[in-house]
């Protein structure tokens, strides 16, 4: 007899932790679960406590799905730092307060360093002393860098008296585990988030559909643009020796936009989800490639990270309060740490150092630069220099090693021929069109996006549905569209 039954083991394995398939906002499973989550959230929204318990449970499951039992680490961190903040607030003894802060920082950073940098330090130590270490088989909990930075900002702000500690532990756990920000930020501050949670205002129509608009924009950036152009970039960066200078330059331009679409697309989705749930998570990327200098770039790129580094590294180091020389040293330290935060490899350190040097040079030259008249031409030259510099540094960010980065740079300098342009355009026309569209969209004025957003919010429901369906279809079309890897055999 033929019977169709739900295979429970299949269902459980679909819902269980899988290190190869973390739950991301681009996965179908997330959206199916969100469809179940949304009506329950809406029903519970006005009952603050119940809503919080429900969201915390969902967030912890979200974390479990991506990182397994490491979600308990987040719970432990939240308990510890909540208690430390309470202690700091209640203690009048300055030394005790300082010790509590230090213990909290050691605890949070210790966990982060262990999971993210153990192998990096071991390999470098091995290189220095010539040992024979085996790298540890560590699973890095997804998003650990982001929630660690959030919890540090909370404890430090309480220590500095900028905020009061939250009385209710659940408020803190809600803040730390809030699933839209869990995997890739933005690094929201407790002082911005907790008041919204405590007010628990209902989400307006503008927030809900504005959130959907942002999610759609994020999906377009991440799942259509970034993922498609990444294919060619991966191939070229994977075998730089096999590509001509022109092809490598295209890969660099491609990666420059891929990383923006990837990071900012995911941020858009997170901010959109937050907006749907009634939370304003701020802006994380503000058209960074429009910047006219590197300082401006860092005011527009990954804003929640750059302001975090400013407030919790640069300023505590002394900022610009201890003279020009110290200011430059502080900038370099901040950017080196910022580079290392992005990944445990020396290529990231070089990327951070490059930006640090550029920031120092800009600070030194600023009086002279301010004296130059702002014309279209000077603005264009400033933009071109800034963009080129940022793009070149992305090579170190993307390349697997210094050797590979060197091959890319050497290829572009020594093996560049415009003759490849027509062949490239003909063979990779979709890729080129897509890249051109992304660059074009990046320079669409903000007010145009705002108009589109408002139009979408006020559009009839059916129109919204149609737009949403068209977008998802685009994602499906490009999810299986491929770029040709090898134009010619170079055997």
């Amino acid at each position: 007899m033929i019977l169709n039954t739900i295979d429970i083991s299949q269902l459980l394995s679909l819902l269980a932790f899988n290190r190869d398939e973390p739950m991301l906002f681009t996965s179908g499973l997330f959206w199916v679960l969100f469809l179940i989550f949304l009506p329950l959230y809406a029903l519970l929204k006005s009952k603050r406590k119940k809503m919080m318990l429900f969201v915390i449970a969902f967030s912890l499951y979200f974390f479990y799905k991506s990182s397994g039992l490491f979600f308990l680490l987040l719970v432990a961190t939240s308990v510890f730092d909540w208690w430390v903040a309470q202690f700091i607030e209640s203690s009048k003894n300055r030394t005790e307060r300082r010790i509590a802060l230090t213990v909290s920082l050691v605890f949070s950073l210790g966990i982060l360093l262990f999971f993210k940098y153990s192998n990096f330090f071991m390999i470098n130590f091995e290189t220095l002393v010539g040992g024979n270490f085996q790298p540890l088989d560590l699973i890095m909990p997804v998003g650990i860098s982001f929630y660690t930075f959030r919890t540090i900002s909370y404890v430090v702000d309480v220590y500095k008296g900028k905020i009061q500690p939250v009385d209710d532990y659940l408020d803190h756990l809600f803040f730390l585990s809030f699933f839209p920000c869990l995997v890739a930020g933005p690094i929201v501050r407790s002082r911005d988030f907790i008041p919204q949670l405590q007010d628990n205002k209902p989400a307006s129509r503008e927030m809900i559909y504005g959130g959907l608009f942002l999610i759609m924009l994020g999906l377009l950036k991440k799942a259509v643009f970034a993922d498609y152009i990444a294919q060619y970039n991966n191939i070229a960066f994977g075998n730089p020796a096999g590509y001509t200078g022109f092809e490598l330059l295209m890969a660099v331009l491609g990666f420059t936009m891929q990383i923006y679409c990837d990071f900012s697309g995911y941020s858009d989705m997170a901010i959109g989800l937050g907006s749907i749930m009634g939370f304003d998570l701020g802006i994380n990327f503000n058209y960074p490639y429009r910047s006219l200098n590197v300082t401006e770039f860092w005011h527009r790129w990954h804003i929640s990270l750059s302001t975090w580094l400013r407030d919790y590294v640069y300023i505590p180091l002394g900022g610009n309060r201890k003279g020009k020389f110290r200011q430059h040293v502080n900038l370099m330290i901040t950017m080196l740490l910022g580079g290392l935060w992005h990944g445990a490899a020396w290529t990231f350190v070089v990327w951070g150092a490059g930006h640090g040097i550029a920031l120092c040079v800009h600070k030194i030259c600023k009086p002279w630069l301010d004296g130059i008249a702002s014309t279209r031409f000077t603005r264009f030259v400033s933009w071109l220099l800034t963009f080129s510099f940022v793009a070149i540094l992305w090579i170190f960010f993307r390349a697997d090693s210094f050797h590979a980065a060197g091959q890319v740079i050497r290829g572009i300098i020594t093996d560049f021929e415009w003759a490849y342009l027509p062949v490239f355009l003909a063979r990779r026309s979709t890729w080129c069109i897509m890249l051109a569209i992304i660059y074009g969209l990046h320079f669409v004025p903000r007010h145009v996006w705002d108009t589109m957003r408002n139009w979408f919010i006020n559009a009839p429901w059916v129109v919204k549905l149609l737009i949403f369906i068209v977008l998802i279809q685009l994602v499906l079309q490009f999810a299986s569209a491929t770029v040709q890897p090898f134009l010619y055999s170079q055997f």
């Binding site: 179908g28 809406a42 559909y209 429901w461 040709q484 090898f486």
Partner: protein, 260 residues
């Protein structure tokens, strides 16, 4: 629930229903020249609802597990070797084995080709009709190591290619990975019966300047490893005694330009 939430929920639900219904057409829908891709929803649901006869089929396979390998076929074969640029290194070495063992070899290199081009083109059927091979080697996959969602995107083409091969014994040599693939090896492994797929991904290669292709010498060693594996791991072993060092030339070589 406030009204905008209800509206958003209905919108997401309607979109899910729309894509769920479309996903019944697993291979996509063609509207004129436009090929509309569908989601994997129906396939995922099907995986959750096990059909008992499917289980029975798999049980049959397990019961017949001992019979997966045919006895060594010592007759001279008419071999067709198809694939991408990797054949430049592999085929000359196979030709040497063929010379030694009395097989004839037709080599068909389609540069930059993938399972997609072969599956869509029907070229293999033409080649089979033309050369009447009784044994086939395939080396494909190197040009699709990074294809996203590959299992969904390429499964129909792999199936089509295997259907074109039909009952002719074959060996599919997997791509020589230089980086982690997005699932091409898994896909071929899932679609081919036991003993018909040689996984090259774990092998070590000395690379040519492009970083992707093995050097000539390394490609010859690769072919040697495949043939050694055929001794014990191949479902349809044929006589391939070691011819000693060196390479030879296939009796017929066909070259196709990269697909547009």
């Amino acid at each position: 629930m406030n009204k905008p939430y209800w509206g958003l929920w209905a919108l997401l639900l309607a979109a899910l229903a729309f894509f769920a219904v479309l996903s019944i057409w697993q291979d996509g829908i063609s509207v004129g020249p436009l090929d509309i891709k569908t989601a994997s929803f129906a396939r995922d649901m099907k995986a959750l609802f096990q059909v008992d006869d499917a289980k029975a089929d798999s049980l049959d396979l397990e019961q017949n597990d001992d019979n997966w390998r045919a006895p060594l076929d010592t007759t001279a074969k008419n071999i067709l070797f198809i694939g991408d640029s990797m054949l430049e290194g592999l085929a000359p070495r196979l030709a040497k084995y063929c010379d030694k063992n009395g097989h004839s070899l037709v080599e068909v290199i389609w540069y930059s080709s993938s399972t997609l081009c072969w599956g869509e083109s029907g070229r293999l059927t033409e080649l089979i009709n033309k050369y009447h091979p009784d044994y086939i080697f395939v080396c494909l996959g190197a040009n699709e190591l990074y294809v996203p969602d590959i299992k969904r995107a390429r499964r129909p083409h792999v199936k089509k290619l295997l259907a074109e091969i039909g009952k002719i014994p074959y060996v599919w040599i997997g791509p020589p990975n230089w980086d982690k693939d997005t699932g091409i090896n898994d896909l071929i492994s899932q679609e081919t019966p036991r003993g018909c797929f040689y996984l090259s991904a774990g092998d070590t290669f000395e690379r040519s300047r492009d970083g992707a292709h093995p050097t000539r010498a390394s490609a010859q060693q690769w072919m040697d490893r495949v043939i050694k594996w055929m001794d014990t791991g191949c479902a349809h072993p044929i006589r391939l005694d070691n011819p000693g060092e060196g390479i030879s030339r296939a009796s017929h070589i066909v070259i196709y330009q990269p697909p547009k």
